[in-house]
């Protein structure tokens, strides 16, 4: 039996680490009855495509990140709301791997799309790479900030004080180099592999967001599994919950070290609680505007998650 697992990143990136370990554990626990084939970024099309492929049963598992998943399951966009997650990753781990709001509530929205929500995990803090020092919202004045084409991201960065610009992924490096844009945001391992640090001067940790990804499975495929297999998958998930937090922390730390080595004069700024509070305050309306836009039970989901993460306003 072959299970196909498609993710959105390149070999060696965090999603690939997860998929590789998933493959190892599943093949080990089924004594090789199941073999897992991994497809990396671009092999089966775009992020949206692999989610559709999973819903259609062409692949059994795939990664989907909220930015893209939001076009299928709009409520998932709450994970784009700034400062929703805790500043303490132990809390994040507990909530993302076992939250009733996610696995009992949100997962129903997945079911209606033919998807079974398997797990969620963060890939690391979203770090701003900029050409000028940014410590308070006013510093963002006139900064052209590249974000993905998503209304909530555009509004968030507007509220932070920046000028959000939508630019295709492939143009970000040269865009930074030539000042078409002044800043972009991504997890540090991504900043390193895409070499964005070469063309910016500051790495700013503002704690506004973790890059949170979702692993989904085809709903019919999952429902058709024997109890034994379901049990096995739950075990694998539990083991991977621990594994991926360590793995992503290590991957991001190593990436930051390599950046510092390659560019010793890069300035790493970790905003303190007070500074973060200013950005949090500036963006406090984002949750409400998302609720307005998406509707449904977004308000309930957002409130419940804030409670679980301990970030209620």
């Amino acid at each position: 039996e072959e299970w196909k697992f498609a993710h959105e990143e390149s070999p060696g990136d965090v999603q690939d680490l997860y998929a590789q370990e998933f493959k190892r554990l599943v093949e080990e626990k089924t004594d090789g009855d199941v073999s897992v084939t991994i497809y990396t970024y671009g092999q089966l099309g775009t992020e949206n495509d692999i989610t559709e492929l999973t819903a259609a049963g062409a692949v059994q598992f795939s990664n989907a990140s909220p930015g893209h998943l939001g076009t299928f399951v709009p409520e998932i966009q709450v994970f784009g709301v700034p400062y929703l997650l805790s500043q303490d990753n132990e809390v994040n781990k507990k909530v993302l791997s076992g939250s009733p709001t996610i696995y009992d509530g949100l997962s129903k929205d997945f079911d209606t799309k033919g998807l079974k929500l398997y797990t969620m995990y963060p890939e690391g803090e979203m770090v701003w790479t900029t050409k000028k020092e940014v410590e308070k919202p006013a510093d963002f004045d006139g900064v052209k900030f590249r974000v993905m084409t998503s209304p909530i991201l555009i509004e968030s960065y507007k509220s932070f004080g920046a000028d959000p610009v939508a630019l295709p992924w492939g143009e970000v490096y040269s865009g930074l180099q030539t000042s078409v844009i002044d800043a972009q945001v991504n997890p540090i391992f991504f900043v390193e592999s895409a070499k964005f640090y070469e063309v910016t001067d500051y790495l700013i940790y503002a704690g506004q967001q973790q890059y949170t990804t979702t692993v989904v499975s085809n709903a019919d495929f999952y429902a058709g599994l024997s109890d034994e297999r379901k049990e096995m998958l739950a075990e694998v998930k539990a083991e991977l919950d621990d594994f991926i937090y360590d793995a992503q922390t290590k991957a991001n730390e190593a990436a930051l070290d390599r950046i510092k080595e390659a560019k010793p004069d890069i300035k790493v700024i970790r905003l303190d609680d007070e500074q973060r509070a200013a950005f949090k305050e500036a963006s406090k309306g984002i949750g409400a505007s998302l609720v307005d836009e998406v509707g449904g039970d977004t308000q309930e989901v957002l409130d419940a998650l804030r409670k679980e993460f301990g970030t209620a306003m």
Partner: protein
């Protein structure tokens, strides 16, 4: 029969039988979906739509539109006049003019075929009249238009950049060095040919005449300045520079030269739309085909079978060059890039090769292959335009193809020819 063999056979048979090129690609995919892959067939359509959706691909219709507007005007002739006043007096000057004209026109046009049309039309009769053999003239035009594919803009580079996730801006800048290298090689051969065959020269132009030609062609020369400068200075992305080129072409031909009327613009846009569709349906069908190949993990098998995993970088470069060259001898370049790039990119990344260098090399190979018998697309364009039989069109091509392959080898060993400009601009 296994999936790989089946789809390859289906493709080749339908291709040789003369079906429109989207048919072999789409049929091979349909066969794969029906008999080999447990996936709903609608995914085939999803991949087709995905293939044509990347934002950067918008540059293709925009560059075609700009080139169409300019071709309707008098740009081609002005560029030819310019080249002629400077090099016409040397032995082989008209042939050198042809090579130089193709290079300059390449800065307006993103495709080799457009260049064959725009430059071949006016220049071939002139060369014949001056005493060049027809086989030499046709071969020169077909192969010099390859330079247009390397000089930005280039449709091949846009597609490679999109599929291989490589910066199109860097690829554009990287094409300029090799383009000029080939121009020099061709020019040297033209001079040698003219000496050997005793082709008469025309009198040297004086600087007044040259000045006049520069002024006449000036706005056309602004195209490369606009495109390269726009990217280099970072005002615009390569996608956007294409749209800016359209506006510039309109200002030039409609407002300044008045060689195109406002009312004709919509007509030109229609023709651009038509050509775009013909190219993009191949992009869509090619993406579907490439999905089938990826899904069935054929690249892994092929690379494993060829023993390329972890091979010497030069071996990998050589394998890539041969694959793209041979592919383009049979199928449209866009399709070859779409299908082969995903197969080789993991290998390129694993070997730590510079993807910009690989992209430049691929673009060069694609251009050479498409001018190479048996079925290179440029040959058929030339047959259609020059109305000469196949055998005659291809007879003079071997020396040029040898020079182009030599250029590819030089590029492999001296990558700085391609990389110095992007490095200067971006690093």
């Amino acid at each position: 029969m296994d999936l790989g063999t089946t789809i390859l056979l289906v493709m080749l048979v339908l291709l040789v039988l003369g079906f429109p090129m989207m048919v072999p690609l789409a049929t091979a995919s349909v066969v794969a979906f029906m008999f080999y892959m447990p996936i709903p067939e609608r995914i085939l359509i999803q991949q087709m739509v995905t293939g044509i959706s990347p934002v950067a691909l918008i540059a293709v219709p925009m560059f075609i539109f700009a080139a169409d507007i300019v071709t309707k005007g008098h740009t081609a002739n002005r560029l030819i006049d310019l080249a002629m006043t400077f090099v016409g007096h040397v032995r082989g000057g008209l042939a050198v003019t042809t090579a130089l004209g193709c290079t300059m026109f390449g800065a307006v046009s993103g495709s080799t075929q457009a260049t064959v049309v725009a430059m071949g039309g006016p220049l071939r009769p002139k060369m014949l009249k001056a005493g060049y053999e027809d086989k030499f003239a046709m071969a020169l035009i077909i192969n010099a238009s390859d330079i247009a594919f390397l000089i930005p803009p280039s449709i091949g580079m846009i597609v490679f950049g999109v599929v291989g996730k490589v910066s199109i801006g860097e690829l554009f800048l990287a094409g300029i060095g090799p383009g000029i290298l080939i121009l020099l090689m061709f020019s040297a051969y033209c001079v040698y040919y003219a000496k050997k065959n005793n082709i008469p020269t025309i009198p040297r132009m004086n600087w007044t005449e040259r000045g006049k030609a520069v002024v006449n062609a000036g706005p056309a020369i602004m195209f490369p300045v606009l495109i390269v400068g726009g990217i280099y200075l970072g005002w615009v992305s390569p996608t956007e520079v294409a749209a800016v080129a359209v506006i510039y072409a309109i200002i030039l031909e409609v407002l300044i030269f008045k060689s195109v009327k406002w009312s004709e613009l919509l007509d030109i846009a229609r023709s651009t739309g038509l050509i775009t569709a013909v190219v993009f349906i191949l992009v869509g069908a090619g993406t579907t085909f490439s999905f089938v190949i990826s899904f069935a993990q054929i690249p892994q098998h092929v690379i494993g079978a060829l023993g390329l995993e972890g091979a010497n970088p030069y071996v990998i470069l050589a394998a890539i060059s041969i694959a793209f060259f041979v592919g383009c001898m049979f199928v449209d370049p866009i399709v070859v890039i779409l299908v082969l790039t995903p197969i080789f990119m993991p290998l390129v990344n694993a070997a730590g090769l510079d993807p910009v260098l690989v992209g430049t090399l691929v673009t060069l190979q694609v251009a050479i292959g498409s001018a190479t018998p048996p079925f290179g697309c440029d040959i058929f364009t030339a047959i259609a335009i020059f109305r000469r039989p196949y055998a005659e069109v291809i007879r003079g091509t071997p020396p040029f193809i040898i020079m182009l392959l030599l250029a590819a080898v030089i590029l492999m060993f001296v990558p700085q020819i391609a990389l110095f400009l992007p490095e200067l601009a971006f690093h």
